[in-house]
Amino acid sequence: MSEIAKLTVHARTTTGTRAAKRLRKGGMIPAVVYGHKEPVVQIAIDAIELNRAIRVLHARTFRLEINGKTDTVLIKELQWDHLGSTMVHVDFERRDMTEKVKVAVPIELRNSPKTMGGGVLDQPLHRINVECPFGNIPEAVRIDILGLTIGHPIHVRELVLPEGVIALDPPEMVVVQIKMAGAEPAEASEAAEGSEPEVVTTKKAKDDAE
């Protein structure tokens, strides 16, 4: 179960790009809290504290004390800068502990296959969409791939999820498999048959002339 972290919240009265930029320069991250038909609250969070909670504690649920009232919230959206190094803005949604939520949970592979059989490990699905109670969000779905063999992929339907957690992705979706190296068509060789690509408009013009 993912940890419920506590964050220090500062009330924010100013909104807009310039105010948000000033906040970020001061080491804060602008955020907004909404949900449960309660008023939308603009807040600011300490960047270091949030960074630690997300990167180290892997938290996605938080307890925020806003105007003397404690809210349990879920990260609805997290915006990053273009390099993906710093967080720019966070959306928090109010949730009750028993409320069902739809979240994406990371998939973690454990061990390594006994025999690769000349293939390579391929993981098409890195996160699985699940529905679960807010207070019982799994930190990760861990799969033991010790017995994984070539031609026998692990599908979503074969995953062992904790009690109360339902997978929302199609059951036939492949999570992890051993694929033969070079089994997929190489784009380069396909595209490179002619030295120049076919020009669509020239062909049309010729057809029209005829």
Binding site: H58, L78, A104, L121, D122, A181, A188, S189, V200, T201
Partner: protein, 139 residues
């Protein structure tokens, strides 16, 4: 053989300007680690191909690699010692327009240290400053 489109509407394209940062394709989506461009510019199909060859040698038989850019833009050039005029030159090569933050290559199925070594060699061949990036934390 370098990548190029199969079919195009026009043989030649205007130069354009590389402005702003990448808002799409700026996170590791398929593999576990990626090579991110920190500068903008044109990445030629030859560069992509050289990166692909390097990665093939490094990860063959163990992991997988992904090329996240495609050379959609034709770049023209006029021959040396040509007089002014006589129109636009002929297509010389194909290139991908890269903005800062764009993920160029990804690798998966290999340990971090090996992925770092692989992508460092690829970065050496790129015309931009690049950096090694892992996946973003799952939220």
């Amino acid at each position: 053989m370098p990548l190029m489109p199969k079919r195009v509407k026009f043989r030649k394209s205007q130069r354009g300007v590389v402005r702003g940062n990448a808002t799409r394709g700026n996170y590791v989506a398929y593999g576990d680690y990626g090579l991110q461009a920190l500068e903008g510019g044109w990445l030629s199909a030859e560069c992509i191909e050289s990166g692909r060859i390097t990665m093939t040698r490094f990860v063959s038989g163990e992991g997988r690699y992904y090329i996240r850019v495609f050379p959609h833009k034709s770049i023209t050039a006029i021959p040396a010692e040509t007089r002014m005029g006589k129109g636009k030159g002929e297509p010389e090569y194909w290139a991908s327009v890269v903005k800062p933050g764009q993920i160029l290559f990804e690798v998966g199925g290999i340990p971090e240290a090996q992925a770092k070594g692989c992508l460092a060699r690829v970065a050496y061949k790129m015309p931009f400053k690049c950096r090694f990036v892992p996946r973003r934390p799952a939220i």
